[in-house]
């Protein structure tokens, strides 16, 4: 229907731009500022400029080389973040996949109740669970052990994952299970050879969700872990704040590095994430 130029079309595009440009600005300003600091020299960082006098990548060099006493454990800490995130992702995937399979395909009696329990846990804000969780981990003797954070993250991530996987499982045709049973499959064979291969896109979405949740988490790391070489990077960044003369540009450079993996993973798995996670939201 392109009739070429028309005032109505221009007006529509203008209106859209009127929305789009502020949205872009609003979204990017904090990120831009983060980058601004990260590529500024020590002194000019705090000069309040909109663009650094002499932009430099040396801050990243300092961070990656651990050449500042605030950063002596950078690699261990980013390693901790990675370890906790990956462990959370894998364990949550395991727990949630088994539970969703049992509830959806094996038609576990009482499956609804388990699902409801999971939902309730999902809705209660994690910050409220943090205080008793802290004492619980202390009672279990897990404080200052990275497992405390991994298990806490699994607890928080699993409910939503179970729910999403169950919704996705319900879409698989029943006849597949029946055909497999007639072919002679045992429950575990059905799980391994039919269910899991067909659920791969949802599994990717759910595993990534749990992984990112753990990587991005601050509060629980802050409460449960405190030793310099055991804290995840998020907590280390928070520790920067405690002193007044902290090297802010290094903090921002570290923060930038810290923020890269989630952004990259999100963009890489965008298709899975969006369809996988909003599938449960809009009940059509």
């Amino acid at each position: 229907m392109s009739r070429g130029f028309s005032w109505r079309k221009v007006s529509t595009e203008a209106q859209l731009l009127l929305v789009g440009i502020p949205v872009l600005l609003w979204t990017l300003i904090p990120v831009y500022h983060l980058l601004l600091f990260a590529i500024s020299q020590r002194d000019s960082a705090t000069s309040g400029r909109l663009w650094p006098a002499d932009p430099t990548l040396q801050n990243f060099g300092i961070v990656l080389g651990q050449k500042h006493f605030y950063l002596t454990h950078f690699w261990v800490q980013i390693g901790n973040s990675l370890l906790i995130a990956v462990a959370t992702g894998l364990i949550t995937l395991f727990v949630a996949t088994c539970a969703a399979f049992a509830i959806s395909r094996l038609k576990l009696r009482g499956g609804r109740t388990v699902l409801n329990l999971a939902l309730i846990t999902y809705f209660i804000p994690a910050a409220f669970l943090a205080v008793p969780m802290y004492k619980t981990m202390a009672n279990y003797g897990l404080l200052n052990n990275r497992w405390s954070m991994i298990l806490a993250m699994v607890t928080i991530a699993a409910p939503y994952c179970i729910w999403v996987l169950k919704q996705a499982s319900d879409k698989l045709p029943w006849e597949l299970d029946e055909a497999a049973r007639i072919d002679g499959a045992s429950p575990l064979q059905l799980f391994r050879l039919v269910y899991v291969p067909l659920m791969v896109p949802s599994l990717v979405a759910v595993g990534t969700y749990a992984l990112l949740l753990a990587w991005n988490e601050y509060l629980y790391g802050f409460l449960l872990l405190s030793k310099e070489n055991e804290i995840p990077l998020a907590v280390a960044l928070g520790n920067f704040l405690s002193a007044d003369d902290s090297p802010w540009e290094l903090l921002m450079a570290t923060g930038f590095i810290y923020a890269l993996p989630p952004a990259a993973i999100y963009y890489a798995f965008k298709r899975y994430m969006v369809s996988g996670l909003t599938a449960g939201a809009v009940k059509s």
Binding site: E175, A179, A180, R181, D183, G184, L193, V194, L198
Partner: protein
């Protein structure tokens, strides 16, 4: 020997009883079709045989062995589903080999059996494709191939042709029948389409509301339906049926309806004045000159090429007549009907039972 027996089978879903005591036997190598309208229980019965539904009462025997408590995989049956139920993430070959793989069968023997089945069903070229790349008919054949590879005692088919278009259905019917003639495996086939039943079955089991209405060969059901339901269910177009009163006397039997005497052969059953249903198939009525038979007005003429279907009005009652070939008859014309009394059916009005 792979016979199947149903002994007083009952099925209830919660408080709702859907099958009320069904018993019949299937001989080794027989092709039996369970047919009936939606909700009659035929699929449920099949699934109970397959082990996919619990049996509420009665026993099912395969090869003289009670299978009630056996899991599906131990009953030595294979099933072809309406929606084919092919594993989407496996190739055709893997789909067909799956059951053997589960039993950890020898790889070479598996390959042999898959190849044989593929050859029988013309699937050789498709073995490495995925189900999503196949047409409906091809998928159906893969589903059958999967069943054949199992070499089971009984084949079960659950409305396998319902998802196919009309032409394909006709072709697949012939293929399934040919397969049965070749393999001679006992087959239980469920469909709601009575044409499929008539063309494929050795014997048909007509079901309705959870009971068996009649069991017999296709021609038995066609020529001697034992009740009104079977009479009207089997045969297309359906049998013409209308109410009337049975008259005896002057040594002849006839039915009075719309003020006309409809011919019957002599029979023992039935009393004078009994309310009855009179049935005559569209193909058993012929047209004669208006004065020589029962008067009827032509309403619609529907030529289908090889035949002509006529809708006629007799005293307010609609009748359908199927003629071979063409006719000159036009709507609004009056014609005469001649009925072969030997082909007329009589049913009690209350019970619907056949009166012989």
């Amino acid at each position: 020997m792979a016979s199947v027996s149903f002994r007083n089978i009952q099925k209830a879903f919660g408080k709702v009883k859907v099958i009320h005591g069904i018993s019949f036997d299937i001989a080794d190598g027989e092709f039996v079709v369970l047919v009936g309208p939606s909700g009659c229980g035929k699929s449920t019965l099949l699934r109970m045989l397959a082990g996919l539904e619990e049996i509420s009462g009665g026993e099912i025997l395969v090869d003289d062995r009670v299978v009630n408590d056996l899991e599906s995989k131990d009953r030595d049956i294979a099933m072809v589903f309406q929606s084919y139920a092919l594993y989407p993430h496996m190739t055709v070959r893997e789909n067909m080999a799956f059951s053997l793989k589960l039993r950890k069968a020898d790889a070479r023997a598996t390959a042999e059996r898959v190849a044989t089945a593929a050859r029988i069903l013309n699937l050789d070229a498709l073995l490495d494709r995925f189900p999503r790349e196949l047409s409906g008919g091809q998928r159906q054949r893969v589903a059958m191939g999967r069943a054949i590879v199992r070499d089971p005692k009984v084949f079960l088919f659950d409305e396998p042709l319902s998802n196919l278009d009309a032409k394909l259905r006709v072709a697949m019917r012939a293929e399934i029948k040919a397969l049965h003639q070749r393999l001679k495996t006992t087959t239980v086939y469920v469909t709601h389409d009575q044409i499929e039943a008539m063309t494929m079955a050795d014997r048909i089991v007509v079901m309705h509301d959870g009971i068996v209405e009649q069991i017999g060969t296709p021609l038995q059901l066609f020529d001697h339906p034992s009740n009104l339901f079977v009479a009207q269910f089997i045969g297309s177009p359906a049998m013409n049926v209308f109410k009337g009163t049975l008259r005896r006397g002057d040594g002849t039997c006839r039915v009075e309806a719309q003020g006309i005497a409809w011919p019957l052969t002599e029979r023992e059953g039935g009393r004078e004045g009994q309310p009855v249903h009179y049935g005559i198939r569209p193909g058993d009525i012929s047209l004669v000159a208006p004065g020589e038979g029962i008067a009827a007005k032509v309403v619609v003429v529907e030529p289908t090429g090889a035949e002509t279907e006529l809708v006629l009005d007799v005293g307010g009652e609609r009748l359908i007549v199927v003629l071979h070939g063409r006719t000159e008859v036009q709507p609004e014309q009056t014609v005469g009907l001649r009925i072969d009394a030997a082909k007329a059916h009589l049913f009690d009005e209350g019970s619907g039972q056949r009166i012989d």
